[in-house]
Subunit: 384 residues, 2 copies
């Protein structure tokens, strides 16, 4: 039943009716006073969400556009950068950096393992000539459900003194604590279809003071993703190009909802759902893909044994109208991923675990008594 | 009354209820079979709209993003290009070309006048070394309400043999005939908030065979706007990055409406509304900004005498809930612009003319008997 589908993928995430109702309103002029009011208000709210006194700029485009903007607005051709790569998105930022002629040093970890902050520390400390201009990393690696230690890595970058931290926080912002200024992160990219509880189409680049300082010498060619005109226009509550007006209506509503809930409550909700999902999955004998203690608050990847993960995913959709995400690239068929990001409540988590448990039972693969998974999920929700 | 506002600006244009209803639906997974069906269908419909056998790629972004993509995917650093510049958008493509290190020759015309095709012919014929790689022009110059002779200019480009025609058809596509293949246009950029009758947020790049051939040697850096992954994925009814899913729902509905109306009817409707608007404006003693015979089918710029155009625009909004566009850059206060693009019917045109006439009367500036403008508009609609 298409109309009854519940999205439990890491984006698009479920969207509240009130946000959809805002989205479906008649557009207004993007140069009107009414629209300026929306830009002004949402810009302030975005700063609250990023816990920053820096600038948060809104781009019509995907999270990749925002991350690319962060990279190409702060660096020069030939600049040396370190890219962390432990999944599909880490890989992508390496590609972006290379596409613009940056000198890329890659620090890798296996898919499913987190990046080792000590490797960043060592490489940064060795750089006595201060030739490293930026460290580019993914906070929550959506492809594997692993959270990287952004706080520690950005601490090492600050100790280096010259390099910037450019962070993909697409599935962490609005799911767990990412205090941009406190952690000393210079650039954060995020996208609307994640913790923002909105459909895809808008993305956000937060730029701190050091990022703007670096921007002065940035020479990589750009136009649509040139952030200077975004900064100049947002200061007048405007935008350089025609923005996705209706998505701004949705943004206004979703940020109001987020502020009403409060950051701490949002982070606690995601943490509870992560724990409850993990508890349910493990109680029915399934293996988590992410290394112990490194699970993302946004998404849990599961590695079923003795069966194609896609088969479980298909049955969960067909029988229970719940859409899970599959594995990407070499993980296709090896893992499925449960999104518990954005507009998700306890019921969603319970039913996702129940649907997986029912599917395993149907396939004759359930190794524990029926109800073990749901029971563990309920207990976890009660305890946390 | 904000909720009763009628948009008569060149974008966002009015959006049908059925399109808004589609927009406000719950998002679905962008890698799902259901979404693939939408991509497949809309891609075919976009080819119909462009009258092309080439590829039409959909980007989440503004029309500028699409135009930039067309330029940076077909050219190499240092390539010599001719840019036509007779308004704000012509100016913009010069800036884009320069931002990427192209060798730009500009052919100018005054704002309000069309580009002279003979100047393009002469420059192309002089280029016996075939060093000109592209001619970049705006078909309908939104800032001035002037239509350029794209057909003749692209004919001269074809006679050159080597250069490409890269055309900004943002406010002409879906308003007047732009037969891409028949006219030999290599790249066409357009945006959703125009003839498509949709909110802003999606844009489209049509690429012909010669454009793809040029793409093979294109070396300008890009990632989000790199069209090769768009081509590769659209062939599997997919997209390289998370697209604005809900805007695709709207696109599907609007393209269905456009196909039901038919291209000829759409073009005729815009032509009738252009003539009726011009007739009404001139009958009340106001001057058209565009040179005689060069008016855009999408927008009519009006140059009132002895009064700040912004004052008329403000009163039309406050008294009649009709939003007109102002002048851009040095035309601010000198002209106002009436959009008759997209989801516009006879009633919209009649009321816009009536509102302007009523406003002139209120200001004591109406030089002809009250009703002259509306009467001329009604007659024009009857005759055409």
């Amino acid at each position: 039943m298409q109309d009854k589908l519940t999205l439990m993928i890491p984006g698009p995430t479920p969207v509240p009716e009130s946000v959809l109702n805002s989205l479906g309103k008649h557009p207004i002029g993007h140069r009107s006073g009414e629209f300026q009011t929306i830009i002004k208000k949402t810009t302030e709210q975005l700063k609250w969400l990023h816990q920053t006194n820096g600038d948060v700029l809104t781009i019509t485009g995907s999270g990749t556009a925002a991350m690319e903007a962060g990279i190409i607005n702060t660096l020069k051709k030939g600049d040396k950068v370190i890219c962390g790569d432990n999944g599909k998105f880490g890989e992508r930022w390496v590609k972006v950096a290379k596409a613009y002629g940056l000198d890329v040093q890659v620090i890798k970890a296996e898919w499913g393992s987190p990046l080792d902050p000590n490797k960043f520390k060592a490489m940064l400390e060795e750089d006595t000539m201060k030739s490293i201009r930026a460290v580019i990393i993914t906070h929550s690696e959506t492809s594997t459900g692993v959270i990287n230690d952004l706080s520690t890595i950005s601490h090492h970058v600050r100790n280096h003194g010259d390099a910037l931290t450019i962070a993909d926080c697409v599935t962490s912002l609005g799911a767990c604590n990412v205090p941009m200024d406190q952690w000393g992160i210079d650039v954060i990219a995020s996208g609307s279809q994640k913790g923002y509880m909105m459909p895809p189409g808008l993305s956000f680049v937060a730029m701190g003071k050091r990022a703007w300082e670096a921007n002065k010498t940035s020479d990589l060619p750009k136009f649509y993703l040139d952030l200077k005109p975004y900064l100049k226009t947002v200061q007048n509550n405007s935008s350089p190009f025609t923005p996705a007006v209706n998505l701004y209506f949705a943004l206004e509503t979703s940020l109001n909802m987020m502020q009403a809930e409060g950051l701490d409550s949002i982070f606690k909700r995601h943490s509870r759902h992560q724990k409850a999902t993990q508890a349910g999955i493990q109680a029915m004998g399934l293996e988590l893909f992410a290394e112990n203690g490194c699970g993302s608050p946004a998404i849990t990847a599961v590695k079923p044994q003795d069966i194609d993960a896609e088969k479980i995913r298909k049955l969960v959709k067909d029988d229970f109208d719940i859409l899970l995400a599959g594995g990407q690239d070499h993980l296709k068929g090896k893992v499925f991923r449960i999104g518990h990001l954005g507009f998700v409540n306890d019921r969603d988590v319970i039913t996702a675990v129940a649907a997986i448990e029912g599917t395993l039972n149907k396939l004759g693969l359930l190794k524990f008594p029926m109800g073990s998974g749901v029971s563990a999920t309920l207990s976890s929700l009660k305890e946390n």
